[in-house]
Amino acid sequence: MADLRVNVAGVKFQNPLIAASGTFGFGEEYSEFYPLSKLGGISCKGITPKKRDGNPPPRIAETPSGILNAVGLQNPGVDYFIKEELPRLSKQGTVIIANVAGNTYEDYCEMAEKLSNSEVDMIELNISCPNVKAGGVQFGTSCESVAAITKAVRPYCKKPLIVKLSPNVTDIASIAKSAESEGADAVSLINTITGMRIDINTRRPIIKNNTGGLSGAAIFPVAVRMVWQVANAVKIPIIGMGGISTWKDAVEMLIAGATALQIGTVLFSDPYAPIKINDGINAFLEKNGIKSVSELTGSIRIWE
């Protein structure tokens, strides 16, 4: 057995696979398939200061090798999360990451402060949700706004801080540097790519929100490229995500520069994907005589 453990900003993960925010709820449902301790970690459903109902349906549309979604951050609010979900989650033997999204600086700071006094292991700043009218991605699309929100939250955040980046930008490497310069302990990328599908008979967008976020295998090459670009620009660890569906994808993303990985959409076709991917990574490491998964991180041999 190869060593699958990874360390992201001082937090120890028993393997590099983290369930991606929004695909895994608060873990309750998937714990009916397997013990959550099989996962390196869970990035919980994005939470906001108050309960949110989310967008009207339809919230999902299938696309070639992917899906569009626009859930709109339906969640019970940060206080409910801490009181009702976290006590159970923190006993599961896996790293718990709280994913937070707000409309204002104060929203993010308030949640970071509350969560800093809770059992969560890390806080992931969601400044990249494309499916809410106010807030979210507005903080994530320029270097200045990313620097400002990271700077604002940093004093309130006593836990390791991950900034989750939007791919809907012209230069993701500069954005990542802005987060790093204001004290982010890690970055995670990519969130979904804004997309759209239209029903040709009704001429209506399939998703009620009109646009949605594209995820799944379709976005994997974009994610690999962006993780590689960010790895060249920052020193903080990268949590890579975006369409990882197989162990080969996982290995590829690590080689591109990721220290840990999040997987989401593949869970919908195969709830057991995290376990299979870990097994596949382990077999690859053993076959190639590599002792630790972390040796893969950034091991790309780029063409000069």
Partner: protein, 250 residues
Amino acid sequence: MKYDTALCRLVEKKEIAKGFFDFRVQNTDLMNNALPGQFVHILVPGKTLRRPISICDVENGCMRLVFEIRGEGTDILSQMKVGDDLDILGPLGTGFKIEKGKKYAFVGGGIGTPPLLYAAKQADTAIAVLGFRSSDAIILKEDFEKACSKVYLTTDDGSAGHHGFVTDPLSEIIGEVDEVCACGPTPMLKAIALIAQKNAKPCQISMEERMGCGVGACLVCACKTKINNVEGYSHVCKAGPVFRAEEVVF
């Protein structure tokens, strides 16, 4: 562990009306746990999302799944061959609650009729009201005739049975039954819920929405509900697909 996926052998396949397929799949664990009104989530080769298909019946060692080709996914599914294995996640969701000694009306529209069959078979007394577009889209009529004391048939174009909607026969018989269970297009369910409400009869309706994970984690299959006076979105895959009619905000 409550959820699992299983490979289920397709042992029988029929096209029971144009574009409507009747699959029988074998898997003992899956069948033994299935409740009327629940669904299974089927992996479709080459597709990112599974397809939710209602459980039509469990009999003779097989689970019966009846579906209509609606798009690419169900088209691929319809091309599966006898002897193929289907990767099935389920049974999932909250189904119909059928109580002993009660007389039920099962009201189905089109591809909404299959999930009512297993429920009708478990009811002590059942009447069915089945509505279809036209005579060539009629499915499961004989099965409901076996399971129910009476079957009312309607077609939109009058090519078979009563010319009109299921609400016509339902309005006539509602006084005879204790409870209504319905599945079909949303406007039909809304009309049925109203008839049940006017006649002070409890009513359970099976809802449909585009679905992701199928287990309640991803929150995409939202259905507007009012439960305990709180309005919000419930999810068809876990809280549903069957809701009490008064809980659904149309």
